[in-house]
Amino acid sequence: MYRYDTIDRQLVNERVAEYRDQLQRFLAGELSEEEFMHLRLRNGLYRQRHAPMLRIAIPYGLLSSTQLRRLAHIARRYDRGYGHFTTRQNIQFNWIKLEETADILAELAEVEMHAIQTSGNCVRNITSDEFAGIAPDELVDPRPLAEILRQWSTFHPEFNWLPRKFKIAINGAKEDRAAVAFHDIGLHVLRGPDGQLGFRVLAGGGMGRTPAIGAVIREWLPWQHVLTYVESILRVYNRYGRRDNKFKARIKILVKALGAQEFARQVEEDFAQIIDGPSTLTQEEFDRVSAFFVPPPYDPQAPEVDPETVGDKAFARWAQRSVRAHKTPGYRSVVLSLKPTGIAPGDATAEQMDAVAEFSERFGFGQLRVTHEQNLVLPDVRCDQLHALWQAARQVGLATPNIGLLTDLIACPGGDFCALANAKSLPIAHSIQARFDDLDYQHDIGELDINISGCINSCGHHHVGHIGILGVDKDGEEWYQVSLGGADGSGAADGRNAIGKVIGPSFTATEMPDVMGRLLETYVRERIEGERFIDTVLRIGIAPFKDHVYQGSIHAHERAPDRVNDTRAATPKRQEVMT
């Protein structure tokens, strides 16, 4: 993975010093609440319901064992002994003391980590495929380009005060595991017919209040021009993105208003002025950064073993869900589940983090990945060590055999923590996990993405859940709206994506397990052999699901159509959006 040189280290240290100075000026009354808010957000610090929350970047999902141990230490020393891995390859600590935040950032800088631009209206942490460099379906390893973009976007002087947050994702595989179509800029790295490296560029995707699939604004961009072209996109957005209404300020609204073609034309017009300028990427820089991502020293003698033929049924079941194919014979990647029933999805204790750091050294090369499904990945496990890993992971509660299944659901922290949420999301996650905890049932239902967001900001990515659940506020009460048929591009060989459709009026929290039960009953009734839940929804549409859910007893009382109450999000004190 990328290692800092003296300049990278110096810049991160200078950032810590800058933030420490800002914090002191705020505590001394020299910075107003509003002024400090913008500055602390750019260092990942939110004010939450109970305590400040610190969001730390895990650039494109890569972590070393040393870094994970440092996160465990931070959890113990500065928080309550655990952390929360998010859908954007960040980790959040929910019980931080404001006065200690500069010290935490200094501790992170020592292990080449930071919280720079993990919030605020600027370019956020660049996200990518958690299986980059190891997935058999990979066309181009996106990590060197992600790192180059990370450096380019860090402290960009022109684009630090955008109309709204700005998220860039990059994918280099056939399957889209980075959900690039749902980002402000989505980059598909490709090889052209002559073997040349380049990008297909999407802009204007996103979730939130107005979900949108990004439009292709350039079919082919030679790799050398990626920084200048992205600069032009950001310049058009910075100048013309709306600033009068925060709900219409994302680039997707501008792309929609202008039309993708006109937006692309304006980008090209600016790009023509800077193409081939000094910011054009060089082969030398590409090679320098790529050298950090060469494959580790794999053992060519590592035996190729089908993991499902080794050990007992419990191991086989875990292996079936958790073990993924690898480019290198004799190796597999392994997903460690952070979704045991009863724990907030994505939460890990300091002890678990230390254990995973140790696994990554014993069963690999001291590296691991963080996934946008809120799980952890050990990227380089020998086939003949999978059983030993499973036994070790079981002892620390990281071997729930539910990866990709019903209970491997994605949820935001919701109303239990977040100041913005309209409704709680964790109790809904728990009630669903508890109802469908039976593993035989889960394995029978098969692959299913359930995504829960506590408000329309969609941190739980409900728009792209096969089943999406959105917490809404109706007259001060918490209700849940259900949508079907979303897809983020992962789990499909062609990277197909879609925004889910709402099935009808919303439900109370207590109704939700029954609603889920009825959706699954419909699937079991309608599915044809080998068909996944999402495939059945696509084949028969949402009507049969809807009919079964709204028939009879769940709805004992008359209900009015949803009037989603947005007053909370509009209240000034609650403006810190969680995504």
Binding site: L11, W161, L227
Partner: protein, 187 residues
């Protein structure tokens, strides 16, 4: 320019007090009067910054006084000045709120279009914006009156290096890294 120290209120650090900070760290009194939009103002001998619309009107009418500069609002198109760079003694960009970042692109574009005269940031210019303002091409700043002058000066040097090319140095770090590596290895 005279290097002045505004007397501070007793017991408090000296504040910017409406003075002008230059990119080289020196301070000077502000000699420019800013005419705000809709404000009636007659042309006088005082150096004056006019709103873009008024400046263009006076230019068209041939009534621009000698000491007439222009200031741009966030939504103004800097290309409107492309033909007039030679006659402009000063261009200012206004930041009505510090978090409205359009002025940064305005500055970049003015410099790209070839404006080489003085470019000044006015409005809600705060200590923590100064380093980036300097990078995109501003060479003078009128920090908000209450801003601590020493902190504002120090902010000009806040970072010792920068990753990406910008107006102040269009050569990105990766090219400089490569050059120093070549020098080091003698290749």
């Amino acid at each position: 320019m005279s290097q002045t120290q505004t007397p501070a209120p007793s017991g408090q650090a000296p504040v910017a007090g409406g003075r002008v900070l230059s990119a080289d760290g020196s301070w000077a009194d502000n000699t420019w009067h800013v005419v705000r939009e809709g404000e009636a103002s007659e042309a006088t001998d005082t150096p004056t910054l006019w709103p873009l619309v008024q400046w263009l009107e006076r230019k068209a009418q041939g009534t621009l006084p000698a000491n007439a500069g222009v200031w741009l609002a966030p939504a103004d198109d800097p290309a409107a000045l492309n033909a007039d760079f030679a006659r402009l003694p000063l261009v200012a960009v206004d930041f009505p709120r510090f978090f409205d970042g359009r002025g940064y692109s305005t500055a970049s574009l003015l410099r790209r279009h070839g404006y080489t005269g003085e470019l000044r940031a006015i409005g809600e210019v705060l200590i923590d914006q100064i380093f980036h303002l300097k990078r995109v091409g501003f060479d003078s700043f009128v920090p908000r009156e209450d801003q601590n002058a020493a902190h504002a000066t120090a902010a000009l040097q806040r970072y010792s290096e920068t990753y990406q090319g910008a107006t102040d140095n269009p050569v990105p770090l990766f090219r400089r890294r490569a050059a120093s590596l070549r020098t080091a290895t003698g290749s």
